[in-house]
Amino acid sequence: MRVPEAGSREPGSLELSAAHQWGDLARGTAGPLLEAAVGTAAGGGASYADVRLSETEELRLYAVSGRAPDERIEGSLGLGVRVLVDGVWGFASRPLRDAADAAAAAADALSNARAAAAGSRERVVLPARDAECGCYQTAVAVDPFAVDAAVRERIVSDALAAATATAGVVQAQAGVNAKRSHRYFASTEGSRQEQHFVESGGMVLAVAAGHDIVQRRSYPNSFHGNTAAAGWEYVTELGLPEQAARVGAEAVQLLTAPVIGSGTADIVIGPAQLALQIHESTGHALELDRILGDEANFAGRSFIGPDAVGRLKYGSPAVNVVADATVPGTRGSFMFDDEGTRTRRTMLVTEGMITNFLSSRDSAARIGSESTAAARSDGWGFLPLCFATNVFLEPGTGTTDELLDRMGAGYYLDDNRSWSIDSQRLNFQFGTEVAWEVRNGKRTRLVRDFSYGGITPQFWGSLEASAGPAEFRTFGMPCGKGEPKEWGFLSHGAAPALFRAVRIGVA
């Protein structure tokens, strides 16, 4: 039985499903801690303050060939306080041991803001807004933390055995993971929010070796597999043992697959690789803090300017990109971002034209706009930055087979092997784990070490068509940004898509 994805106006008014009833912050204890931190910040001179209090538990079971399985459960409880004092931000976070830590974090944030005033030549103007209150919980059919250890063990050991069944596989890894968290938010504007999340995921990786050659295949996505906002039912649906056998066999097949030469070709990119393409060349490029220079020292800048909305042609008319955290079931699904902005569906690219950014309150105010609820942070410990949420290339029509038929000759590729893009998000080069040559609209031989590259707007300008909604897939992934580097958890989705005259074979 699935609990409906639900929200309500008032914190505490939503009946939590069993999977969310755990830990020290499940209900009741968060309120006084939030009020203590908000009160300390406001009493200390903050014109604005927000507090994020969260408790997280994460389960990971990994098995690597030749090593004993390793299972771990990592718990974390803490809070982060952000203040604005005389137009200067300050932030502090710490683990929560007792109530004194809430006030101490707020005091540290105030000290940081006052110290920063000595170096700041400009002041922040944050438009006030009304309070937002509400509750949210992930829909969970089977609580992953209630699954018996033997069940987890069996799936992983079966997957590992299947991945190594093909001669030539020298190393394999299989794993399952689950995470649950309570997130509470309060601000001096009166916002009070609670969100309860559950994630589940799995992965398998096979490495095959021949003479001076090593190849890898993975499932359901390269690097960390895939994780969804769902219960154990998602892990079951992955069918890890069954897919592991295929992955192992393909890794070995790649050892003797040909390498194609460099040149230009039509390609159909599968949804896993396309998810990363969207992440690197669309999502990052549209982060407004980056566009405004806040991330110039580390994450970089963007070829897209703050005046691009309605002016910059980003891609072909087939390019429609949406940010929509209201879509359930992924790592980018939520009701409120980490500065309390209620999420909504936002078109970022419409028929190839830039129509909005991934923004926070601070960055949006600087261009006279409103936040698109993209302020995300890595748990309680880090500042909210502009991260992608659920950023999807909207599907077109038809099937992948119809796309391949339309292409005629070219390549079908998927699953990332290497990725690189410059600090303006313009010049990229990606390698994929796997590609098939397509002739007369049909997949034929496997080729290895496939790579393609391009310049972002030219590349997206070559998008001719995407397959329909039935072949649309989403992939959750972590993303690094900020100093110190923090992770944002998000998702990208797409159906397979046809690109014309793309530069290939560059590596």
């Binding site: 990994y62 771990r72 502090a92 000290s111 018996d148 040149g263 410059d422 790579s451």
Partner: protein, 458 residues
């Protein structure tokens, strides 16, 4: 900034007490705590002044043929974590069938090297006010030069304490100071960064002024010419390149799987004899630290030793698999399986100044910063990436025009093999997602490094 979050006495007493409650065959427990203060600035404001305290207490319990780890975020919950790990390990032992593999044990008592050089009062004095004032001065200097600047100034305290049922007890605390900044002027940019235990040795102001001057002098940039160039990589770019060396088979799991250079080409010649790439947390360079999270003393491991294939880094598990001893490189990366990690890489310095390396190039490139570098082929050592800030044309032994971003797909092993000059000054940079991770390298001069597509201009 404040001192240690946990403190030696409190940390070891809490771990000792918690360990007593273990109901398992073996157990280990560590606490890793860090107080990091970061002053980020960009344009005309200090936009992200932060204090971040992190604390993880992780227990590993072994029961029969199974093990389990449980982690919490405070020492006060350490006993609960030990109890939970013991229970999970016992439950897993009861649930599993006949085990093909058995879990590795815990570290026994071993002598830990001294902690001299880890703690510097100058870093504690590099507090929020000092950092903010300095950030303001750097932004003022940039504005005066017609440039802008973005960067971060950091001071931190890192602690690690370990206790095992095998009798190991160890604790160390270390200060950490670092900076990085990007100066922008017109289309040109420059970059400076360094990291170490002692804030007084960073020279932030001078290096910021140099970066600002360099960017302001260039203003315009030209495209990186496609083709093979003589390239002088600055210490930061070199550090990025040597960061890939462990991926070429210099880890215990790769050796156990029979893949990579150590397994397939032991002692083979890779580079000139003056190239030594070591992982060495005992050398007093970068972010030295005396032991790993399993309590094993850290050992120097020369991955490339005088140009030859050297050894591999290991943890207790991979050492058990290969029949050796752990080199003290246990690591548990986020969302990943535990695996040994080379966390303190050093390319041993040579005797040349960076100016001398540049002077030895008639026409070529100076590359200060690389970006988004990813492994393409571990067997060939091929990496794809781009240049970024602070890159210049070299003409007649001098830096001239600034360069746009350029893409490369090249073998790091090939580059090391074609290195004919090594700088004397080490620069350290952090390695993200690795606990206490850093790489330290001098500038190098590589004869023949391709930038640009093999089929034409990007």
């Amino acid at each position: 900034m404040p001192g240690a979050w946990a403190g030696q006495d409190h940390a070891l007493a809490a771990l000792e007490d918690a360990l007593k409650s273990a109901e398992a065959d073996q157990a280990e427990i560590f606490v890793a705590a860090r107080t990091g203060e970061h002053t980020r600035f960009a344009g005309e404001r200090v936009h992200q002044p932060q204090t971040i305290v992190e604390c993880q207490v992780m227990v590993r319990a072994v029961a029969g043929t199974a093990s389990a780890r449980v982690a919490v975020s405070s020492l006060e919950a350490a006993r609960d974590a030990v109890a939970a790990a013991s229970e999970l390990a016992r439950r897993r032992d009861g649930a599993s069938g006949k085990a093909d593999t058995v879990p590795h044990g815990v570290a026994g008592a071993a002598t830990i090297a001294g902690t001299a050089g880890l703690w510097h009062e100058s870093t504690l004095a590099f507090d929020a006010v000092a950092r903010s004032v300095l950030a303001g001065q750097i932004m003022d200097a940039a504005r005066s030069a017609g440039a802008s600047v973005a960067g971060v100034l950091t001071a931190a305290v890192t602690e690690l304490a370990v206790a095992t049922s095998g009798g190991q007890r160890c604790y160390a605390a270390a200060t950490e100071a670092g900076f990085s900044l990007t100066a922008l002027a017109g289309q040109a940019s420059s970059y400076a960064a360094d990291l170490g235990r002692d804030a007084s040795g960073l020279g932030v102001r001078e290096r910021a002024e140099n970066a600002i001057s360099q960017a302001a002098a260039a203003q315009d940039v030209i495209a990186v010419p496609d083709g093979v160039h003589d390239v002088v990589f600055g210490g930061l770019a070199t550090g990025e390149l040597i960061g890939f060396v462990p991926d070429f088979g210099f880890t215990g799991p790769a050796v156990a799987a029979g893949i990579g250079l150590v397994a397939t080409r032991p002692h083979a010649v890779l580079a000139p004899s003056d190239i030594t790439v070591a992982d060495d947390a005992t050398a007093g360079v970068g972010l030295p630290f005396p032991f790993d999270c399993e309590g094993t003393p850290k050992r120097r491991v020369e991955l490339i030793s005088a140009g030859h294939v050297g050894g591999s880094v290991s943890d207790l598990a991979s050492a058990a698999a290969t029949g050796g001893m752990s080199t003290g490189h246990a690591h548990i990366a986020r969302e990943s399986s535990p695996a040994p990690e080379a966390a303190n890489l050093i390319l041993m310095p040579g005797g040349a100044s960076e100016a001398e390396l540049i002077a030895g190039v008639e026409r070529g490139l100076y590359i200060q910063r690389l970006w988004y570098n990813r492994l393409v082929d571990a067997e060939a050592g091929t990496v794809v990436g781009t240049s970024r800030d602070g890159c210049f044309l070299i003409e007649d032994g001098r830096l001239t025009a600034g360069l746009q971003t350029g893409r490369f797909t090249e073998s790091v092993l090939g580059a090391l093999a074609r290195t004919d000059g090594i700088g004397s000054q080490l620069i350290t940079q952090p390695v993200p997602n690795v606990w206490n991770g850093c790489s330290s390298a001098p500038a190098i001069r590589v004869r023949g490094f391709r930038f640009g597509s093999r089929q034409g201009k990007d």
